[in-house]
Protein backbone atom coordinates (compact mmCIF):
# COMPACT_ATOMS: atom_id res chain seq x y z
CA UNK A 1 0.00 0.00 0.00
CA UNK A 2 1.40 3.41 -0.90
CA UNK A 3 1.73 6.33 1.47
CA UNK A 4 -1.36 8.43 0.93
CA UNK A 5 -1.42 10.21 4.27
CA UNK A 6 -1.27 13.69 2.74
CA UNK A 7 -4.15 12.97 0.42
CA UNK A 8 -6.25 11.98 3.40
CA UNK A 9 -5.65 15.01 5.62
CA UNK A 10 -8.97 16.59 4.74
CA UNK A 11 -10.90 13.47 5.68
CA UNK A 12 -12.50 12.92 9.08
CA UNK A 13 -10.48 10.59 11.33
CA UNK A 14 -11.58 6.96 11.42
CA UNK A 15 -13.99 6.36 14.32
CA UNK A 16 -11.99 5.93 17.48
CA UNK A 17 -8.68 6.16 15.67
CA UNK A 18 -6.32 9.05 15.25
CA UNK A 19 -6.05 9.04 11.44
CA UNK A 20 -6.79 6.98 8.33
CA UNK A 21 -4.88 3.74 7.90
CA UNK A 22 -2.06 4.05 5.40
CA UNK A 23 0.01 0.97 6.25
CA UNK A 24 -1.80 -2.09 7.56
CA UNK A 25 1.38 -3.72 8.82
CA UNK A 26 2.00 -0.98 11.38
CA UNK A 27 -1.41 0.59 11.74
CA UNK A 28 -4.46 -1.62 11.25
CA UNK A 29 -7.76 -0.37 12.66
CA UNK A 30 -10.09 -3.09 13.96
CA UNK A 31 -13.06 -0.70 14.01
CA UNK A 32 -12.65 0.82 10.57
CA UNK A 33 -15.97 0.34 8.71
CA UNK A 34 -14.18 -0.77 5.53
CA UNK A 35 -12.19 -3.34 7.49
CA UNK A 36 -15.37 -4.60 9.17
CA UNK A 37 -17.11 -5.03 5.82
CA UNK A 38 -14.12 -6.79 4.27
CA UNK A 39 -11.35 -7.86 6.66
CA UNK A 40 -10.43 -10.70 4.28
CA UNK A 41 -8.46 -8.60 1.82
CA UNK A 42 -6.58 -6.90 4.66
CA UNK A 43 -5.49 -10.27 6.08
CA UNK A 44 -4.54 -11.51 2.61
CA UNK A 45 -2.45 -8.38 2.05
CA UNK A 46 -0.62 -8.86 5.36
CA UNK A 47 0.07 -12.53 4.64
CA UNK A 48 1.40 -11.91 1.16
CA UNK A 49 3.29 -8.69 1.83
CA UNK A 50 5.61 -10.31 4.34
CA UNK A 51 4.05 -8.97 7.52
CA UNK A 52 1.81 -11.79 8.74
CA UNK A 53 1.84 -10.44 12.30
CA UNK A 54 0.86 -6.78 12.14
CA UNK A 55 1.10 -4.22 14.92
CA UNK A 56 -0.79 -1.08 15.78
CA UNK A 57 -0.55 1.57 18.46
CA UNK A 58 -4.27 2.21 18.21
CA UNK A 59 -6.58 1.39 21.13
CA UNK A 60 -3.73 0.81 23.58
CA UNK A 61 -1.67 -1.20 21.08
CA UNK A 62 -1.97 -4.77 19.84
CA UNK A 63 -0.53 -7.46 17.55
CA UNK A 64 -2.59 -9.12 14.80
CA UNK A 65 -1.45 -12.55 13.53
CA UNK A 66 -3.06 -13.63 10.26
CA UNK A 67 -1.62 -17.10 9.49
CA UNK A 68 -3.22 -20.37 10.56
CA UNK A 69 0.05 -21.88 11.77
CA UNK A 70 0.77 -18.84 13.93
CA UNK A 71 -2.67 -18.96 15.56
CA UNK A 72 -2.17 -22.68 16.24
CA UNK A 73 1.18 -21.98 17.88
CA UNK A 74 0.15 -18.87 19.82
CA UNK A 75 -2.95 -20.59 21.25
CA UNK A 76 -0.72 -23.27 22.75
CA UNK A 77 1.66 -20.75 24.39
CA UNK A 78 0.30 -21.12 27.91
CA UNK A 79 1.20 -19.59 30.35
CA UNK A 80 3.52 -17.22 28.43
CA UNK A 81 0.48 -15.66 26.81
CA UNK A 82 -2.07 -15.06 29.54
CA UNK A 83 -5.86 -15.06 29.21
CA UNK A 84 -6.53 -12.99 32.32
CA UNK A 85 -7.65 -10.06 30.19
CA UNK A 86 -9.19 -11.64 27.07
CA UNK A 87 -10.99 -8.55 25.75
CA UNK A 88 -9.31 -6.89 22.74
CA UNK A 89 -9.00 -3.56 24.57
CA UNK A 90 -8.00 -3.46 28.24
CA UNK A 91 -10.11 -1.60 30.76
CA UNK A 92 -8.33 1.56 31.99
CA UNK A 93 -6.69 0.88 35.39
CA UNK A 94 -8.94 3.40 37.14
CA UNK A 95 -12.02 1.34 36.22
CA UNK A 96 -10.61 -2.10 37.08
CA UNK A 97 -12.17 -3.82 40.11
CA UNK A 98 -10.24 -6.63 41.80
CA UNK A 99 -13.35 -8.70 42.49
CA UNK A 100 -14.32 -8.47 38.80
CA UNK A 101 -11.05 -9.08 37.04
CA UNK A 102 -8.96 -12.11 35.92
CA UNK A 103 -10.18 -15.38 37.49
CA UNK A 104 -13.17 -13.54 39.00
CA UNK A 105 -14.20 -11.78 35.77
CA UNK A 106 -15.45 -14.60 33.56
CA UNK A 107 -13.74 -17.91 34.31
CA UNK A 108 -12.62 -20.03 32.57
CA UNK A 109 -12.16 -17.65 29.62
CA UNK A 110 -10.45 -15.01 31.79
CA UNK A 111 -8.26 -17.46 33.70
CA UNK A 112 -4.99 -19.33 33.24
CA UNK A 113 -4.31 -22.81 34.65
CA UNK A 114 -4.81 -24.02 37.29
CA UNK A 115 -7.96 -21.93 37.90
CA UNK A 116 -8.91 -22.26 34.24
CA UNK A 117 -8.90 -26.06 34.48
CA UNK A 118 -11.36 -26.61 37.29
CA UNK A 119 -13.77 -23.85 36.30
CA UNK A 120 -13.85 -25.31 32.79
CA UNK A 121 -14.51 -28.80 34.10
CA UNK A 122 -17.51 -27.43 35.99
CA UNK A 123 -19.01 -26.01 32.79
CA UNK A 124 -18.23 -28.62 30.16
CA UNK A 125 -20.73 -31.35 31.16
CA UNK A 126 -23.56 -28.87 30.47
CA UNK A 127 -22.27 -28.10 26.98
CA UNK A 128 -21.39 -31.46 25.43
CA UNK A 129 -23.33 -32.47 22.29
CA UNK A 130 -25.50 -34.65 24.54
CA UNK A 131 -25.74 -31.92 27.20
CA UNK A 132 -27.22 -29.43 24.71
CA UNK A 133 -29.73 -31.92 23.25
CA UNK A 134 -32.19 -30.90 25.95
CA UNK A 135 -32.03 -27.30 24.71
CA UNK A 136 -32.85 -28.29 21.13
CA UNK A 137 -36.60 -28.71 21.34
CA UNK A 138 -36.97 -25.33 23.02
CA UNK A 139 -34.75 -23.72 20.37
CA UNK A 140 -36.87 -25.19 17.56
CA UNK A 141 -40.08 -23.93 19.15
CA UNK A 142 -38.55 -20.51 19.73
CA UNK A 143 -37.41 -20.18 16.10
CA UNK A 144 -40.91 -21.05 14.85
CA UNK A 145 -42.49 -18.51 17.23
CA UNK A 146 -40.15 -15.76 16.08
CA UNK A 147 -40.93 -16.49 12.42
CA UNK A 148 -44.68 -16.57 13.20
CA UNK A 149 -44.24 -12.97 14.37
CA UNK A 150 -43.09 -11.57 11.01
CA UNK A 151 -43.77 -14.09 8.23
CA UNK A 152 -47.06 -12.44 7.17
CA UNK A 153 -45.32 -9.07 6.79
CA UNK A 154 -43.24 -10.37 3.88
CA UNK A 155 -40.19 -8.63 5.34
CA UNK A 156 -38.11 -8.46 8.49
CA UNK A 157 -34.73 -7.53 9.85
CA UNK A 158 -33.07 -10.95 9.96
CA UNK A 159 -30.57 -9.66 12.53
CA UNK A 160 -32.82 -7.76 14.92
CA UNK A 161 -36.03 -9.77 14.58
CA UNK A 162 -34.49 -13.25 14.37
CA UNK A 163 -30.74 -13.89 14.87
CA UNK A 164 -30.48 -11.52 17.83
CA UNK A 165 -33.53 -12.99 19.57
CA UNK A 166 -32.46 -16.64 19.72
CA UNK A 167 -29.24 -16.94 21.79
CA UNK A 168 -30.33 -14.67 24.69
CA UNK A 169 -33.47 -16.74 25.27
CA UNK A 170 -31.67 -20.07 24.98
CA UNK A 171 -28.95 -19.11 27.44
CA UNK A 172 -31.38 -17.35 29.81
CA UNK A 173 -33.43 -20.52 30.02
CA UNK A 174 -30.32 -22.66 30.54
CA UNK A 175 -29.00 -20.39 33.29
CA UNK A 176 -32.43 -20.26 34.88
CA UNK A 177 -33.01 -16.50 34.69
CA UNK A 178 -36.07 -14.57 33.51
CA UNK A 179 -36.45 -14.94 29.73
CA UNK A 180 -38.65 -11.83 29.81
CA UNK A 181 -35.49 -9.81 30.40
CA UNK A 182 -33.92 -10.56 27.01
CA UNK A 183 -34.06 -6.94 25.88
CA UNK A 184 -32.10 -5.99 28.98
CA UNK A 185 -29.59 -8.80 28.39
CA UNK A 186 -29.05 -7.66 24.80
CA UNK A 187 -28.48 -4.07 25.97
CA UNK A 188 -26.05 -5.19 28.69
CA UNK A 189 -24.03 -7.45 26.40
CA UNK A 190 -23.75 -4.83 23.66
CA UNK A 191 -22.74 -2.36 26.39
CA UNK A 192 -19.89 -4.57 27.52
CA UNK A 193 -18.67 -6.17 24.32
CA UNK A 194 -19.67 -3.95 21.41
CA UNK A 195 -20.48 -0.31 22.18
CA UNK A 196 -18.44 -0.39 25.40
CA UNK A 197 -15.16 -1.38 23.76
CA UNK A 198 -14.46 2.22 22.84
CA UNK A 199 -16.38 3.70 25.78
CA UNK A 200 -14.76 2.40 29.01
CA UNK A 201 -17.28 4.15 31.29
CA UNK A 202 -20.15 2.44 29.49
CA UNK A 203 -18.37 -0.90 29.62
CA UNK A 204 -17.73 -0.52 33.38
CA UNK A 205 -21.35 0.47 33.94
CA UNK A 206 -22.72 -2.64 32.24
CA UNK A 207 -20.07 -4.87 33.85
CA UNK A 208 -21.44 -3.71 37.19
CA UNK A 209 -25.07 -4.11 36.09
CA UNK A 210 -24.41 -7.71 35.03
CA UNK A 211 -22.50 -8.57 38.19
CA UNK A 212 -25.17 -7.07 40.45
CA UNK A 213 -27.84 -9.02 38.58
CA UNK A 214 -26.00 -12.32 38.99
CA UNK A 215 -25.00 -11.57 42.60
CA UNK A 216 -28.70 -11.56 43.43
CA UNK A 217 -29.32 -14.72 41.37
CA UNK A 218 -26.42 -16.56 43.06
CA UNK A 219 -27.60 -15.51 46.54
CA UNK A 220 -31.05 -16.82 45.64
CA UNK A 221 -29.73 -20.21 44.40
CA UNK A 222 -27.55 -20.63 47.49
CA UNK A 223 -30.75 -20.34 49.55
CA UNK A 224 -33.20 -21.97 47.11
CA UNK A 225 -31.50 -24.47 44.79
CA UNK A 226 -33.24 -25.07 41.45
CA UNK A 227 -32.69 -27.29 38.43
CA UNK A 228 -30.59 -24.82 36.45
CA UNK A 229 -27.02 -23.97 35.53
CA UNK A 230 -26.61 -21.24 38.16
CA UNK A 231 -27.50 -23.77 40.86
CA UNK A 232 -25.09 -26.32 39.38
CA UNK A 233 -22.26 -23.76 39.48
CA UNK A 234 -23.20 -22.77 43.05
CA UNK A 235 -22.85 -26.43 44.04
CA UNK A 236 -19.47 -26.89 42.32
CA UNK A 237 -16.61 -27.65 44.70
CA UNK A 238 -12.89 -27.32 44.31
CA UNK A 239 -10.65 -29.04 46.88
CA UNK A 240 -13.59 -29.53 49.22
CA UNK A 241 -14.78 -25.92 49.13
CA UNK A 242 -17.65 -24.40 47.16
CA UNK A 243 -16.50 -21.93 44.50
CA UNK A 244 -16.59 -18.39 45.94
CA UNK A 245 -19.52 -16.15 44.95
CA UNK A 246 -17.40 -13.78 42.88
CA UNK A 247 -16.12 -16.68 40.74
CA UNK A 248 -19.63 -18.09 40.19
CA UNK A 249 -20.88 -14.59 39.33
CA UNK A 250 -18.04 -14.33 36.81
CA UNK A 251 -18.90 -17.70 35.27
CA UNK A 252 -22.54 -16.62 34.88
CA UNK A 253 -21.33 -13.36 33.34
CA UNK A 254 -19.40 -15.41 30.79
CA UNK A 255 -22.46 -17.49 29.88
CA UNK A 256 -24.48 -14.38 29.21
CA UNK A 257 -21.86 -12.31 27.42
CA UNK A 258 -20.18 -15.08 25.41
CA UNK A 259 -23.41 -16.90 24.69
CA UNK A 260 -25.29 -14.05 23.08
CA UNK A 261 -23.33 -11.71 20.83
CA UNK A 262 -21.26 -14.46 19.26
CA UNK A 263 -23.98 -16.90 18.22
CA UNK A 264 -26.30 -14.20 16.97
CA UNK A 265 -23.42 -12.95 14.81
CA UNK A 266 -22.94 -16.41 13.30
CA UNK A 267 -26.66 -16.88 12.60
CA UNK A 268 -26.87 -13.34 11.18
CA UNK A 269 -23.81 -13.74 8.96
CA UNK A 270 -25.21 -16.97 7.55
CA UNK A 271 -28.59 -15.40 6.76
CA UNK A 272 -26.85 -12.36 5.27
CA UNK A 273 -24.82 -14.72 3.08
CA UNK A 274 -27.85 -16.59 1.77
CA UNK A 275 -29.89 -13.40 1.31
CA UNK A 276 -27.19 -12.07 -1.01
CA UNK A 277 -26.08 -15.31 -2.71
CA UNK A 278 -28.97 -16.81 -4.57
CA UNK A 279 -27.07 -19.84 -5.88
CA UNK A 280 -26.04 -20.92 -2.41
CA UNK A 281 -29.55 -20.31 -1.06
CA UNK A 282 -31.10 -22.44 -3.82
CA UNK A 283 -28.52 -25.15 -3.24
CA UNK A 284 -29.45 -25.45 0.43
CA UNK A 285 -33.12 -25.67 -0.50
CA UNK A 286 -32.34 -28.42 -3.01
CA UNK A 287 -29.72 -30.28 -0.95
CA UNK A 288 -30.61 -29.99 2.75
CA UNK A 289 -28.33 -32.95 3.47
CA UNK A 290 -25.47 -30.45 3.14
CA UNK A 291 -26.31 -28.63 6.37
CA UNK A 292 -23.57 -30.42 8.37
CA UNK A 293 -20.76 -29.18 6.16
CA UNK A 294 -22.54 -25.92 5.34
CA UNK A 295 -22.79 -24.86 9.00
CA UNK A 296 -19.07 -25.55 9.51
CA UNK A 297 -18.20 -23.68 6.31
CA UNK A 298 -20.24 -20.65 7.36
CA UNK A 299 -18.55 -20.80 10.77
CA UNK A 300 -15.19 -20.87 9.01
CA UNK A 301 -15.89 -18.07 6.60
CA UNK A 302 -17.72 -15.72 8.97
CA UNK A 303 -16.02 -16.71 12.24
CA UNK A 304 -17.15 -13.89 14.51
CA UNK A 305 -14.84 -14.04 17.52
CA UNK A 306 -11.40 -12.57 18.15
CA UNK A 307 -10.17 -13.20 21.68
CA UNK A 308 -7.03 -11.67 23.16
CA UNK A 309 -4.00 -12.64 25.21
CA UNK A 310 -1.44 -10.55 27.04
CA UNK A 311 2.24 -11.47 27.17
CA UNK A 312 2.94 -12.51 30.77
CA UNK A 313 6.64 -11.84 30.18
CA UNK A 314 8.79 -10.79 27.22
CA UNK A 315 8.14 -13.52 24.64
CA UNK A 316 10.06 -14.18 21.42
CA UNK A 317 7.97 -15.52 18.58
CA UNK A 318 8.79 -15.69 14.90
CA UNK A 319 11.37 -12.91 15.04
CA UNK A 320 9.07 -10.65 17.04
CA UNK A 321 9.36 -9.74 20.71
CA UNK A 322 6.03 -9.44 22.48
CA UNK A 323 6.88 -7.21 25.42
CA UNK A 324 5.41 -8.08 28.81
CA UNK A 325 1.83 -6.80 28.84
CA UNK A 326 1.51 -6.59 25.04
CA UNK A 327 -1.92 -7.45 23.68
CA UNK A 328 -2.09 -10.21 21.06
CA UNK A 329 -5.34 -10.51 19.13
CA UNK A 330 -6.22 -14.15 18.55
CA UNK A 331 -7.34 -13.63 15.00
CA UNK A 332 -9.04 -16.99 14.50
CA UNK A 333 -11.19 -15.50 11.71
CA UNK A 334 -7.99 -14.61 9.84
CA UNK A 335 -6.55 -18.11 10.32
CA UNK A 336 -9.70 -19.50 8.69
CA UNK A 337 -8.87 -17.63 5.47
CA UNK A 338 -5.25 -18.77 5.16
CA UNK A 339 -4.74 -20.29 1.68
CA UNK A 340 -2.01 -22.56 3.07
CA UNK A 341 -4.71 -24.49 4.93
CA UNK A 342 -7.95 -23.87 3.05
CA UNK A 343 -8.39 -24.40 -0.65
CA UNK A 344 -9.88 -21.26 -2.21
CA UNK A 345 -10.44 -19.72 1.22
CA UNK A 346 -12.27 -16.71 -0.24
CA UNK A 347 -15.05 -18.97 -1.53
CA UNK A 348 -17.92 -20.30 0.53
CA UNK A 349 -18.06 -24.01 -0.40
CA UNK A 350 -21.12 -25.46 1.27
CA UNK A 351 -19.83 -29.02 0.86
CA UNK A 352 -16.23 -28.28 1.92
CA UNK A 353 -14.74 -31.58 3.06
CA UNK A 354 -11.37 -30.58 4.47
CA UNK A 355 -12.14 -27.92 7.04
CA UNK A 356 -10.04 -27.70 10.20
CA UNK A 357 -11.45 -24.26 10.95
CA UNK A 358 -10.75 -22.61 14.26
CA UNK A 359 -13.85 -20.44 14.63
CA UNK A 360 -14.21 -21.62 18.24
CA UNK A 361 -10.55 -21.17 19.04
CA UNK A 362 -8.12 -23.99 19.76
CA UNK A 363 -6.26 -25.39 22.76
CA UNK A 364 -7.43 -25.17 26.36
CA UNK A 365 -9.63 -22.14 25.71
CA UNK A 366 -11.66 -23.77 22.94
CA UNK A 367 -15.12 -22.20 23.24
CA UNK A 368 -16.87 -24.11 26.03
CA UNK A 369 -20.24 -23.35 24.44
CA UNK A 370 -19.35 -24.43 20.91
CA UNK A 371 -21.80 -27.34 20.82
CA UNK A 372 -24.63 -25.12 22.02
CA UNK A 373 -23.73 -22.51 19.41
CA UNK A 374 -23.54 -25.13 16.65
CA UNK A 375 -26.94 -26.53 17.66
CA UNK A 376 -28.53 -23.06 17.75
CA UNK A 377 -27.08 -22.17 14.37
CA UNK A 378 -28.22 -25.41 12.77
CA UNK A 379 -31.75 -25.15 14.20
CA UNK A 380 -32.05 -21.43 13.39
CA UNK A 381 -31.00 -21.92 9.75
CA UNK A 382 -32.92 -25.13 9.10
CA UNK A 383 -36.11 -23.67 10.59
CA UNK A 384 -35.71 -20.46 8.59
CA UNK A 385 -35.21 -22.39 5.34
CA UNK A 386 -38.17 -24.65 6.09
CA UNK A 387 -40.48 -21.65 6.58
CA UNK A 388 -38.83 -19.04 4.33
CA UNK A 389 -36.93 -20.81 1.54
CA UNK A 390 -37.01 -17.75 -0.73
CA UNK A 391 -35.65 -14.49 0.62
CA UNK A 392 -33.44 -11.69 -0.55
CA UNK A 393 -31.56 -8.70 0.78
CA UNK A 394 -33.88 -5.74 0.28
CA UNK A 395 -31.48 -2.90 1.11
CA UNK A 396 -27.80 -3.93 0.98
CA UNK A 397 -26.67 -0.41 1.89
CA UNK A 398 -28.54 -0.56 5.20
CA UNK A 399 -26.48 -3.53 6.45
CA UNK A 400 -24.06 -2.57 9.24
CA UNK A 401 -21.29 -4.69 10.78
CA UNK A 402 -20.06 -4.65 14.38
CA UNK A 403 -16.53 -5.72 15.13
CA UNK A 404 -13.51 -5.62 17.36
CA UNK A 405 -14.23 -8.57 19.62
CA UNK A 406 -17.19 -10.01 17.72
CA UNK A 407 -17.82 -9.40 14.04
CA UNK A 408 -21.30 -9.77 12.66
CA UNK A 409 -24.11 -7.94 10.86
CA UNK A 410 -26.38 -5.87 13.09
CA UNK A 411 -28.99 -4.89 10.48
CA UNK A 412 -30.10 -7.26 7.67
CA UNK A 413 -33.27 -6.08 5.90
CA UNK A 414 -34.78 -8.97 3.93
CA UNK A 415 -37.96 -9.52 1.94
CA UNK A 416 -39.67 -12.79 1.12
CA UNK A 417 -42.62 -13.99 -0.95
Amino acid sequence: MTDTADAHTDEAPAPGGPCPVTDLATDYDMFDPDYLRDPFSAWAELRTEGCPIAHTERYGGSWLPTRYDDLQALAKMVPELSSKSPIVIDMPDALVKDDATGYNAAAPISADPPEQSWTRRALLPHFTPKGVMKDREYTERLCHELIDGFIDDGRCDAAVDYAQQIPPRVIARKLGVDEGMVDDFIEWVRGVLELGLQQPELRAKYRDVIREFFAAEVADRRANPKDDLITALCQTEHEGELLPDEVVIGMCNLQLVAGIDTTWSSIGSALWHFAGNEDDRRRMVAEPELWDTAVEELLRFYAPVTMARNAAEDVEYGGITFKKGDKILMNFPGANHDPDHFEDPHEVQLDRQRNRHVAFGIGIHRCAGSNLARMEMEVALKTWFERIPEFTLSDPDAVTWAGGQVRGPRIIPVTFG
Binding site: L124, P125, T128, P129, D292, N355, I364, R366, S370
Partner: protein, 65 residues
Protein backbone atom coordinates in the same frame (compact mmCIF):
# COMPACT_ATOMS: atom_id res chain seq x y z
CA UNK B 1 -8.49 -49.31 8.81
CA UNK B 2 -8.42 -47.99 12.38
CA UNK B 3 -8.93 -44.51 13.85
CA UNK B 4 -6.79 -43.36 16.74
CA UNK B 5 -7.63 -40.35 18.92
CA UNK B 6 -4.84 -38.65 20.86
CA UNK B 7 -6.47 -37.78 24.20
CA UNK B 8 -3.67 -35.31 24.94
CA UNK B 9 -4.50 -33.28 21.85
CA UNK B 10 -8.31 -33.53 21.91
CA UNK B 11 -9.89 -30.35 23.33
CA UNK B 12 -13.49 -31.47 22.98
CA UNK B 13 -14.55 -29.63 19.83
CA UNK B 14 -16.85 -32.60 19.06
CA UNK B 15 -16.52 -32.00 15.33
CA UNK B 16 -15.85 -35.73 14.84
CA UNK B 17 -18.85 -36.75 16.91
CA UNK B 18 -21.18 -34.43 15.03
CA UNK B 19 -19.93 -35.73 11.65
CA UNK B 20 -19.60 -39.42 12.53
CA UNK B 21 -21.45 -40.57 15.64
CA UNK B 22 -21.15 -44.08 14.19
CA UNK B 23 -17.36 -43.92 14.63
CA UNK B 24 -16.77 -41.90 17.81
CA UNK B 25 -18.46 -41.09 21.10
CA UNK B 26 -17.80 -38.28 23.57
CA UNK B 27 -17.30 -38.46 27.33
CA UNK B 28 -18.90 -36.29 30.03
CA UNK B 29 -16.55 -33.41 29.23
CA UNK B 30 -17.11 -33.68 25.48
CA UNK B 31 -13.76 -35.28 24.69
CA UNK B 32 -13.75 -37.83 21.89
CA UNK B 33 -13.44 -41.60 22.28
CA UNK B 34 -13.25 -44.20 19.52
CA UNK B 35 -16.08 -46.70 19.45
CA UNK B 36 -14.80 -50.20 20.22
CA UNK B 37 -11.14 -50.52 19.30
CA UNK B 38 -11.39 -47.89 16.58
CA UNK B 39 -11.74 -50.32 13.69
CA UNK B 40 -13.66 -48.59 10.90
CA UNK B 41 -16.62 -50.68 9.68
CA UNK B 42 -16.65 -51.36 5.97
CA UNK B 43 -18.25 -48.54 4.04
CA UNK B 44 -17.34 -45.83 6.57
CA UNK B 45 -13.78 -45.25 5.37
CA UNK B 46 -14.65 -41.89 3.79
CA UNK B 47 -16.26 -40.74 7.02
CA UNK B 48 -13.12 -41.71 8.92
CA UNK B 49 -11.04 -39.56 6.57
CA UNK B 50 -13.59 -36.75 6.89
CA UNK B 51 -13.23 -36.55 10.67
CA UNK B 52 -9.45 -36.54 10.36
CA UNK B 53 -9.72 -33.60 7.97
CA UNK B 54 -12.05 -31.68 10.26
CA UNK B 55 -10.22 -31.92 13.58
CA UNK B 56 -8.76 -28.49 14.42
CA UNK B 57 -6.41 -30.04 16.99
CA UNK B 58 -4.90 -32.66 14.63
CA UNK B 59 -5.88 -35.23 17.27
CA UNK B 60 -7.20 -37.96 14.94
CA UNK B 61 -5.09 -40.24 12.80
CA UNK B 62 -5.77 -43.30 10.68
CA UNK B 63 -3.80 -46.51 10.83
CA UNK B 64 -4.13 -48.40 7.56
CA UNK B 65 -4.11 -52.21 7.71
Amino acid sequence: MKIVIDAEKCEGHSRCYSLAPDLVDVDDLGNALVLGDGTVPEGLEDKARLIVDNCPEYAITIEED
